[in-house]
């Protein structure tokens, strides 16, 4: 069986400008930030990003890498409004496909199941229909005759997710209270890159955690990246919580200054700078 371990740089080198990229996690929770930072060091741009948005979206938007965003929200959770995303929207510098949280989930499911759409009872009557003129409805062929939104599949060229543990083959494990939707992002994508806090032997995965914590199966994974602190400054329970002080700095520092201080060097330099300023 193939050893899929690679560096964050190697994972990002397989991405291309113009791709549709799914990013796992939720808001400022377990985001694959080390992979996003590697992406920011690369020349990859013109992306369509599909995300339950947090600082992943904010940073890529601030760096001008997003052509189109597909999202239901962008938030830092403890800071409700993401400042860099907000600035991008208010300056009109990115296109947006704004859909409901459940529509988003049904879209990922449709892609994972290789279906063109799934019916969803959300969106009708709201302005989601007006701002997405491409959305179509579907009527039940049964006696109820109910009309639904036909949520199109959110098929991805690539997915980036971060979990607590993984083996070298691509089996990924979450140890916190919420899996979010990382398995679906991987299943909806042509290629999935999983970063993790620690790579362990396969047998280690179920030594102290139950088998249902094995969220991602290796068949949908292309690359495994060991990235301790790889979700920083978002939370990665139970390994660590959100770095609220750093997030506040991220939200209140002008982007060029923040990027120069923390993103000019590699991941090691990022961590050193973050520790120095803590």
């Amino acid at each position: 069986m193939a050893d899929k371990t690679m560096t964050a740089e190697e994972a990002v080198s397989r991405l291309e400008s113009g791709m549709t990229l799914g990013i796992g996690g939720w808001g400022a929770r377990r985001k694959p930030m080390a992979l996003v930072r590697a992406l920011l060091r690369s020349p990859v741009t013109d992306l369509t990003v599909v995300s339950y948005g947090g600082p992943d979206v904010g940073m890529l938007a601030a760096a001008g890498r997003i052509r189109r965003l597909v999202a239901a929200f962008v938030t830092l959770d403890s800071i409700p409004l993401e400042p860099h995303y907000r600035a991008a929207r208010e300056s009109g510098s990115l296109e947006l496909t704004e859909i409901d949280e459940a529509m988003f989930l049904w879209g990922l499911r449709a892609a994972a199941h290789r279906l063109p759409f799934l019916p969803v009872r959300a969106g009708l009557g709201s302005d989601v229909m007006r701002i997405n003129p491409g959305l179509r409805t579907v009527t039940s062929p049964y006696d109820d005759g109910e009309t639904f939104v036909a949520m199109p599949a959110l098929r991805l060229d690539a997915a980036l997710v971060h979990v607590n543990r993984a083996d070298r083959l691509g089996n990924g494990q979450y140890l916190g209270p919420d899996p979010y939707f990382d398995d679906l992002f991987c299943a909806a994508a042509d290629a999935a890159y999983v970063s993790c806090e620690r790579i362990v032997d396969t047998a280690e995965l179920t030594k102290e955690a139950p088998p249902q914590s094995l969220l991602i199966t290796r068949q949908v994974v292309t690359g495994v990246v060991e990235a301790p602190g790889g979700a920083h400054f978002t939370s990665c329970a139970p390994d660590y919580g959100r770095d609220e002080a750093f997030q506040k700095r991220y939200a209140s520092t002008p982007w060029p200054e923040f990027a120069a201080r923390y993103l000019a060097g590699d991941e090691r330099a990022y961590r050193a700078a973050a520790e120095e300023d803590a």
């Binding site: 939720w26 948005g53 999202a71 239901a72 929200f73 962008v74 938030t75 409700p80 409004l81 995303y85 907000r86 929207r89 208010e90 009109g92 704004e98 859909i99 409901d100 949280e101 459940a102 529509m103 989930l105 969803v120 009872r121 959300a122 969106g123 009708l124 009557g125 709201s126 302005d127 989601v128 701002i131 109910e146 209270p177 919420d178 899996p179 979010y180 939707f181």
Partner: protein, 245 residues
């Protein structure tokens, strides 16, 4: 036994808590999803008094009893499925709301190029089409109560077109309680909090409200409810930060 605290006059924030709690009266064995501090205090009060079967989360992935005992698991994916199953009553915020209950939390101005980007539609479309929905507005003003919202996130009665699971229960604000129990589902004033006049509510509302001839005051909390609010649920008085006075 009474404590000195119980003799202090009921604050505006406490009337708001009572009004929010009433939203979940007789709701049965469903999930209460309060968003915002005062709705959270209200939901916990309802759970501890007249609606003991309510389910409440820790705000993340766990369903917890009032003493903190975990009794269930509700990660986001299960939560979204529970929404579509309908066994839930959510109380959301609203940056704008109109007379038929259309609600906006996404942005102010033209969506294509907003003057002010807010949260995004979030789960408002799925919530309003699937389970009872109420709103909490900590500052009742013409900026919030508008003739027409800039983007319809939560669906109002004039746009629900008979959607079979659509129901907007109440709108609770720092001034009073409103609902949509009128023939055409236009917003109606149900009660004003003690110290607030009907005229004050009218002036703070950017459209014509349905106002009955006699508008009662929001009910008084019982001594037991006041004790629970002040000593058990919110002993640090954080509620006063959301609603002053």
């Amino acid at each position: 036994m009474s404590t000195p605290a119980e003799h202090d006059a009921t604050t505006r924030a406490e009337y708001c808590v009572i009004a929010c709690a009433e939203t979940w009266r007789d709701a049965g064995e469903i999930l209460a999803s309060p968003m915002g501090l005062i709705p959270s205090v209200g939901a916990r009060l309802a759970r501890l008094t007249f609606s003991p079967d309510l389910l409440l989360t820790d705000g993340e992935a766990l369903i917890v009893r009032p003493d903190g005992t975990v009794e269930g698991w509700l990660p986001y994916r299960a939560h979204l499925e529970l929404v579509t199953g309908g066994r839930r009553h959510v109380m959301m915020g609203a940056s704008q709301i109109d007379r038929f209950g259309n609600q906006n939390i996404s942005c102010v101005g033209d969506w294509a190029r907003p003057i002010r980007q807010l949260l995004g539609v979030r789960g408002a479309p799925v919530n309003t089409l699937n389970n009872p929905t109420s709103y909490w507005i900590p500052r009742h003003s013409r900026r919030v109560f508008v003739e027409k919202v800039d983007l319809v996130c939560g669906v109002g009665y004039d746009r629900a077109a008979g959607a079979r699971h659509h129901r907007l229960a109440r709108v609770v604000t720092d001034l009073g309680v409103l609902d949509f129990a009128t023939p055409d589902h236009a917003m109606r004033l149900v009660s004003v909090h003690p110290g607030v006049s009907v005229e004050q509510v009218r002036e703070a509302t950017g459209f014509e409200l349905v106002v009955p001839d006699r508008v009662p005051y929001t009910r008084e909390p019982t001594a037991a409810e006041l004790r629970l609010i002040r000593e058990v649920i919110d002993p640090d008085g954080i509620r006063a930060r959301e609603v002053a006075g």
